[in-house]
């Protein structure tokens, strides 16, 4: 379902980035990079507007003709970006939210791993497996 998943650190460098069609990877890297601007815009907009609710899920960042990009920020300013195929119209908001929640839980587990130094690239196999399960759900 998801075509590309990226975890970006607070300082805006990638901690983890993976995409399914392994050719053309650069295109996804570029998309994730450009989506960071939109994420920053949404975060600062949330700060200025006196909204009572500050959600972690940012929603659809921007659509292109082939893909849709969704974003999510944690309390520690770590951003998750997910690129999904536009042709897969069956994906509803709730499903995207639950995918982000799973990502957040796995990321928290990675953080609590004593062998992981915060700020390094994520090399945990458990995290890899979870991301794989989210990406290979095409029928």
């Amino acid at each position: 379902m998801a075509v590309c998943i990226a975890v970006i650190a607070k300082e805006n460098y990638p901690l983890y980035i993976r995409s399914t069609p392994t050719e053309d990877e650069l295109k996804f890297h570029y998309m994730v990079h450009t989506s960071l601007d939109v994420v920053d815009e949404k975060i600062s907009a949330m700060g200025k507007a006196l909204v009572d609710q500050r959600e972690l899920y940012l929603g659809l960042l921007y659509p292109t003709e082939d893909y849709k990009v969704y974003g999510y920020v944690t309390n520690s300013k770590v951003k998750f970006v997910m690129v999904v195929d536009s042709s897969n119209t069956a994906l509803r908001d709730n499903e995207i939210r639950s995918m982000f929640r799973k990502l957040h839980n796995s990321y928290t587990d990675v953080m609590c791993n004593p062998f992981y130094n915060p700020g390094d690239r994520i090399q945990s196999r458990a995290f890899d497996n979870m991301v794989t399960s989210m990406m290979i759900q095409v029928c």
């Binding site: 607070k10 959600e55 972690l56 920020v73 309390n75 520690s76 839980n105 953080m111």
Partner: protein, 159 residues
């Protein structure tokens, strides 16, 4: 609840172990042990800072993060809230705990006052680590006037 004492026992053993290793502390050895304890607390604080605020909404400002420390973090660690939070609104916060759980078993009053800082180092590191994950560089120091009350001073560094 037996769970709370498990951490207390582990913490006591940690401090004892670090001090036992340096038979002739002097001021160099003591400082090193204190910074080791703070380092331990820092890493734990980073992980806690990631795991605990999961369901809460994003923090809008510094004060929200400090309130989270006083309520949620303290409740998770010691099953009680921090007793007082004061600020000068310029980045310095004083967190007051009138009955710090790690001190209750040690006694009340001024006995063991010199030994107290050892038992605060881990918690200082914890606060620093949690704040770091939440995005704030800080300097945390602790002071004890009379057991079991203690104060943590947090200075948020703006850069």
């Amino acid at each position: 609840m037996a769970d709370a004492v498990l951490f207390e026992f582990l913490h006591t053993e940690m401090v004892a172990e670090l001090w036992a290793r340096d038979p002739d502390p002097g001021s160099g050895g003591k400082k090193k042990s204190l910074s080791v304890l703070e380092g331990l607390g820092f890493r734990v604080g980073q992980a806690l800072g990631e795991r605990l605020p999961r369901e809460t909404l994003a923090f809008r400002e510094e004060l929200d993060a400090l309130k989270f420390l006083c309520k949620d973090l303290w409740a998770a660690m010691f099953q009680k809230h921090m007793d007082g939070l004061r600020t000068n609104h310029q980045g310095t916060y004083v967190l007051q705990d009138n009955s710090f759980p790690l001190f209750i078993t040690m006694g009340s009053g001024s006995q063991y006052l010199e030994e107290a800082p050892k038992f605060l180092a881990f918690t200082c590191g914890l606060l620093c680590g949690a704040l770091h994950t939440l995005g704030f560089q800080s300097l945390v120091t602790a002071s004890v006037a009379a057991l079991p009350a203690c104060k943590f001073q947090v200075v948020i560094q703006k850069y």
